[in-house]
Amino acid sequence: MANIVELKNINKIYGDKIKTQVLYDINLRFEENSFNSIIGESGSGKSTLLNIIGTLDKPTNGEVFIDQNRTDTLDKKALSVLRNQTMGFIFQFHYLLPEFTAKENVLMPYKINSYKVPKEVDEWADELINLVGLAKVKNNLATDMSGGQQQRTAIARALINKPKIILADEPTGNLDSDTTENVYSILKNINKNFKTTFIIITHDQRIAEKTDRIIEIKDGRINLDLRK
């Protein structure tokens, strides 16, 4: 299978005077349609790694390839387009736009690229909202929803442009265990039905065990890489 994400010799060093190396010579490949998890202690460098994959951060050295194209050398504008078209983000803090309704939030990544929303995209948004079980609150402002509802809105939003990759950083970090189960089964279904690649950071061992591949990061290095 083709690699959708490829990292070559990634190092990340923070700071100018006092240098802190966070990632050491990371080499990683993620296959298309795979469902992956990254685990590790707090401060081990998981988020840094994910943000580098997501082009939000740049490696100090090393090469990043998304869908065979090198990204660490692209300019800001090209990266914006790349993120908008090929990636969906789900963060621990859902980061909805509180001024907009659930449905408007879901459509936002589409509108960033093209303002007019055709009927089929509008229907796709409704379908996603149904999929994450938010039909009843889709016209609520983001601030008028529970934490779980907001996180599920963020999932629907990450999917609206049918991205090839979804990057999730502790997406259930602040949800109760029932809701956590529910959110993961949604992600798993999406992976099955839409062939989306998932890279999910989690600290929940039970969740990690349900994924196809577990990568453990320890002190900025890959400590374990388990495939099922």
């Binding site: 988020s47 943000n51 997501g54 939000l56 951060d57 800001k76 504008k77 914006s80 387009v81 790349l82 993120r83 908008n84 078209q85 983000f89 963060f91 803090f93 980061y95 909805l96 736009l97 509180p98 001024e99 907009f100 936002m108 990544p109 509108k111 960033i112 690229n113 303002y115 939003r157």
Partner: protein, 386 residues
Amino acid sequence: MRLSFDIALRFLKSGKGQTLLIILGISVGVAVQMFIGSLIQGLQISLVDTTIGSSSQITISSVNKDKTIKNWERVVYEANLLSPNIKNISVSADGPANIDYEEDIDSVLIRGFNLDDADRIYKFKEGLLEGSLPFKKDETIIGKELSTKSKAKLNDKIVIVTPSGEQIKLKVTGIFDLEVSSLNDTWVVTNLETAQEILSLDSNVTSVEMQVSDVFKADEIAKQLKYTLSIEDTKVDNWKDQNQSLLSGLNGQSVSSYMIQVFVLVAVLLGISSVLAISVVQRSKQLGILKAMGIKDKDASLIFVFQGLMLGLIGAIIGVCFGFALLYVFTKFAVKPDGNPVVPIFINKGFIALSGMFAILSATIASLIPARLSSKLNPIEVIKNG
């Protein structure tokens, strides 16, 4: 771009208190600017009007030996042709004479006019306290001070001693008050024929007087007139050259009015800019997530430019309404005993439109700083720090 507009609108709507505060700030700025501007302009116009509104603004007189213009019909004709800006052309036969009121003698100025023409400049009819204009030969109107001094009442006769020593009796057909004491004191106004006879001018006149539509162009027009007149031995005076101190006073007033307006504007600008800059910080989470989702820096900046534009537009509109309300209240309550406003207000549409445009422009310029801040904002900062 349209998304930026939508987001800008939502941001403004969701921060209602802040939005209203900025709009209020802009409105007050525009209203104050408009009020001060209209007041100063009104003041200046009324000042100019009282000073020169009822007098000759361009005067053609003769520099030849006997100070007379013979071919004055030609002068009137040419002045008429020169510019549509020239109006109320009137010829006059002027000269000094003495008035003899039995116990005393006093010098006066004989002014002979074609009264219908001269009335357009001097507004004798309006100024008449009693009686009517002296259309017939040997009739006159005199000012109220001269009437008191000479004890000449309506229909009395006054005795004029001509420069050649002759005595001529004039019948007083009216008493005027032109609100300038030197005129009320010394003018003896007659028709052209009477003055020509008293002053031995034959059928000549001594000056051609006129007014202009745009009073501040009087000097230019006077220059053109001097250049085009075919009659020799004339000089062309205009009110601007004769009222330099008034003009420099007006100028100083304009400058200080502009200063006030500029400072109001700067205050508004700083206010908008700082509130918008704060709002970038407040919305940095939203901006970060929009950027993570791929919004371009340019569109992120546009959100703030649109906010500035909308705030400026709404603020300007409300400000102009405020300004009108202020002017209305002023003209209604700051009044003299006769019911007229203390300072006449001049509503200059162009000036008001300009203040409005300026507010919109400055709000937009003020938004450029926050726009730049938002363009520089890196989504990773937001995402990392929660």
